[in-house]
C-alpha cells in the first residue's frame, strides 16, 4: 500500500515537473532544412530565419529575386519573434538542426562563431563596400562569418504640432542636453498628462542611456573587453542626466509609466513631445496616422561630443547545413547592391551597402530620415562581449533600481561595474 502510494506520488510529480523540465533538454526545433523532391526536378529548399515581421516583405523580395536567378533553389522565409528566435536557434544549434541561413545579432555572434556554428564567408562578397565597423563586428581573427545586412542609429523624434503650439523652433544640430531639458520643461504640462522628453526604462539601453554615455566620453565596456566602464565618472555623469529627466526635472513620465507603456505608444498618442527611437521604428511610425501627420526626426542632442549608438545585423550561414552551398549562394546574394536596393525599396532597414542609403532615404518622404544616416559619421558601435547575455541581466537589475530611484546613481553604477568586472574576468 505504502509503496503504491509512493509510486503514484512520484509519477504525479514527474508529470508536473515535466512542464519545467522539457524546456531544458528536449526541444524540437521546427525549421531546419528539407530537400524538396516534388515536381520531378531536382530542387533544394533553404530556410532563412529572421525575427522582424516588419521586414518580411523586404526579405521576401530578396528571396524572390534570388530564386529567379537560381532556378532549382527555393528560399523559405521564416519569421519568429525576437525572444523565441534565440531560444529556437539555441535549441537548433544544440540539436544540429539550425536553419540554413539566418540573421545574426552582435549580442550572440561570438557564442555561435566560437562554437563553429557559422560558415566562414571568404568569397563572393565585397566587404569593402560596407562600413568598416559593421564588417569588424562579424569578423573573428580576420575571417568574416556574416554579411552585413543593415545598420541602425538612434534619432530624436519630436511632435511638430506640440512645438508649433508653443512657438518653439524644432530641435536641430545646435542642441545640447541643457537646451533639450529647457525646451522639455516648456512643453511639460503635468495637469494635462503631457511630458516634454521621455527617458526610458532599464532595458532600453540602445535607445536610451548608452547614447548619453558615449556623448559624455564614457564607455560601457573597455576596448579590450576586459573591464566595465560603469565606474568612470563620465559614465556615471551621463546616467545621472538620464535619471534626472525623470526625478529632478520631471520632464519625463514617471518610471512606472515607462515600464507599462512603450515609447512609441506614448509618442503616437500625443503624451510626450520628444522621444529617442531607433531607425528600425520608422516603418511603425510611418504606418501610424497620428505620427505620420505630426512627427519628425532630428539628430540627438549632444553633450561633450556628438554621438549615437549604431549596430547592424548580419546574414549568416549554418556550418552544419546539408544545403550549405545553396545557402552560401543566397547569403552572398544578400551582400550585393541589388539585394540592398530591394531592402531600401521595401523600407526594411537602412541598407549597409555603400551608396544604397540614399534610395532608402528617398523611399520615405514622410520624415526627414536622412538624419539617421548622417549620424553614422560619429556613431559608436553597440557595446558587447562574449559574456554579454550575463552582464546584460546584471546591467538591467542595477539600472532598474537606479532609474526608479531606489538606488543612488553613483552607488549603483559602481556596484554594477564590480559585478560586470567579475563576469568579464570569467570570460
Amino acid at each position: 500500500m505504502k509503496a503504491k502510494k509512493l509510486v503514484a506520488l512520484f509519477l504525479a510529480l514527474t508529470l508536473t515537473l515535466g512542464i519545467t523540465a522539457c524546456g531544458n533538454s528536449s526541444t524540437t526545433p521546427s525549421g531546419g532544412s528539407q530537400t524538396n523532391g516534388s515536381g520531378g526536378g531536382k530542387g533544394t529548399t533553404i530556410t532563412y530565419a529572421i525575427w522582424d515581421k516588419n521586414q518580411e516583405p523586404g526579405m521576401r523580395a530578396i528571396a524572390d529575386a534570388f530564386e529567379a536567378q537560381n532556378p532549382g533553389i527555393k528560399v523559405k522565409v521564416e519569421v519568429t519573434g525576437w525572444d523565441e528566435y534565440w531560444t529556437k536557434l539555441e535549441a537548433g544549434a544544440t540539436g544540429g538542426v539550425l536553419p540554413d541561413a539566418f540573421w545574426m545579432h552582435i549580442n550572440n555572434f561570438r557564442k555561435y562563431a566560437d562554437a563553429a556554428m557559422l560558415e566562414p564567408i571568404t568569397e563572393g562578397v565585397d566587404m569593402s563596400k560596407f562600413p568598416e565597423g559593421l564588417v569588424d563586428l562579424y569578423t573573428v581573427d580576420g575571417t568574416s562569418y556574416a554579411v552585413p545586412k543593415d545598420f541602425d542609429t538612434i534619432g530624436l523624434w519630436y511632435n511638430k504640432t506640440m512645438f508649433d503650439e508653443k512657438g518653439i523652433p524644432y530641435p536641430d544640430e545646435s542642441w545640447d542636453w541643457d537646451k533639450a531639458i529647457e525646451v522639455a520643461k516648456q512643453l511639460t504640462d503635468p495637469s494635462a498628462g503631457v511630458f516634454g522628453l521621455m527617458a526610458g526604462h532599464s532595458a532600453e539601453n540602445q535607445q536610451g542611456f548608452y547614447n548619453l554615455i558615449f556623448q559624455n566620453g564614457g564607455h560601457v565596456i573597455s576596448e579590450d573587453k576586459k573591464s566595465s566602464g560603469y565606474d568612470l565618472p563620465e559614465t556615471i555623469e551621463a546616467v545621472q542626466v538620464w535619471h534626472d529627466l525623470i526625478h529632478e526635472h520631471k520632464v519625463s513620465p514617471p518610471y512606472e509609466t515607462l515600464v507599462e507603456s512603450s515609447a512609441s505608444n506614448l509618442f503616437t498618442s500625443g503624451r510626450v513631445a520628444m522621444v529617442m527611437l531607433g531607425s528600425w521604428m520608422v516603418t511603425e511610425l510611418k504606418n501610424n496616422e497620428y505620427s505620420a501627420a505630426n512627427a519628425d526626426v532630428a539628430v540627438l542632442p549632444q553633450m561633450k561630443q556628438r554621438a549615437t549608438v549604431y549596430n547592424g545585423l548580419g546574414n549568416a550561414v549554418s556550418a552544419k547545413s546539408p544545403n550549405k552551398e545553396a545557402a552560401l549562394k543566397f547569403v552572398q546574394f544578400t551582400g550585393t547592391e541589388e539585394a540592398n536596393l530591394l531592402q531600401a525599396e521595401h523600407v526594411s532597414a537602412i541598407p549597409a551597402y555603400e551608396g544604397t542609403q540614399q534610395p532608402w532615404i528617398d523611399s520615405i518622404t514622410t520624415f526627414n530620415v536622412g538624419k539617421y544616416v548622417d549620424m553614422l559619421e560619429y556613431a559608436y558601435i553597440y557595446p558587447t562581449s562574449k559574456t554579454r547575455p550575463r552582464w546584460d541581466v546584471a546591467e538591467n537589475d542595477y539600472m532598474r533600481q537606479i532609474l526608479s530611484g531606489q538606488l543612488g546613481v553613483e552607488e549603483g553604477c559602481k556596484a554594477l561595474a564590480s559585478e560586470m568586472n567579475a563576469i568579464l574576468a570569467d570570460e
Binding site: 509519477l11 504525479a12 519545467t20 523540465a21 522539457c22 550575463r390
Partner: protein, 299 residues
Amino acid sequence: MKLQKMKKRRWGDLGWAYLMIAPTILGLLVLNIYPVISTIYLSFTKTGDFGASSFTGIGNYTKMFKDPEVLQATWNTFRYTIGVVPVGVLLALFFAVLLNANIKGKTLFRTIYFLPVVSTPVAVAMVWRWLYNTEFGLLNYLLSLFGAGPVGWLTTSRYAMFSLIVVGIWSTLGYNMVLLLAGLQEIPKTFYEAADIDGASPIRKFFFITLPLVSPTLFFVLVLTFISSLQMFDFIYMMVDRGNVAMGSVQTLVFLFYKYAFQIYDRGYASAIVVFLLAIILAITALQMHLQKKWVHYD
C-alpha cells in the same frame, strides 16, 4: 503441473497488460522521466554553449543557498501559493456547492465559471494587464470615480504580488470547481433526504454530509493547486516587464529558472534551482499525503 499452467496463463495475461500500457509508459519515460534525470544530472555540472558541460559536484547548490535572489524567489513562490491555494480552493468549493443546487440557468453559470480555463493563459494575462494599467486601466478608472488615487497594481512592489494572486485565483477557479462539482454529484441523494427527515439545517448538512463525502475530491484539488501554484511562471512572464521595479518581489523559482536557462544560458545553475523546487514540491506533497488520514474520508 497445475501450478505451472497457471503461471503460464498469468504471464499471458500480464504480457497483454504490459503491452497495453507500453505506449503511455514509453511516453512517460521519454518525455518525463528522462528529462527529470538529465535535469538532475545537469544541476551538478557547469554548462557551456550548445550542450557542452563539465562536472562540478555540488558547486551550483552551495552557490544557490547563498544567493539572496534564490531565497527571495523561494519566499515569493510561497507567498503566491499561500495567497492562491486557500482562497482559491474554498471559493471553488463555495461555487461548486451553489451550482450543484437546483437553480435556474445553472448550465450557463457553469460555463461562465469554466471559461477562464478554456482561454489561453497568454490572452488572459494580456487582458488583465490592461485592466491593471495604471493610467488607462479599468480598475483605476473605477477607483477614480470614488476619488481614490491611481494604484500601480503591477508596477509597485507593494501591490504586484497581490495582483498576480488575484489573477491566479480567477484562472484556476473554474477548473477546480468542475472537479468538485463532479465529486458533489457522486453523493447519493438519500443522505440528504434522511437528513431532511431528521430536520437538519443546510449548514449542518454541508458540514456533516457534503464536506466528508467530497473530501477525496477536495484532497485531489488541493494537491493539484499546490503544485501548479508552486510552479507559477506564465503570468509573471506576460505581465511583469524586465524593467519593472516590482520584478524582485514577484519573481518565482520557475521564473528564475527561466532567467538562468534562457537569458543567461547557465543551464547548470538553472537546473539546480528547478531541482530545489522539485524537493520543495515533493516535501509539501508528501506532507499532504500524510495529513490526509486526519480529514479525508474514503467511503
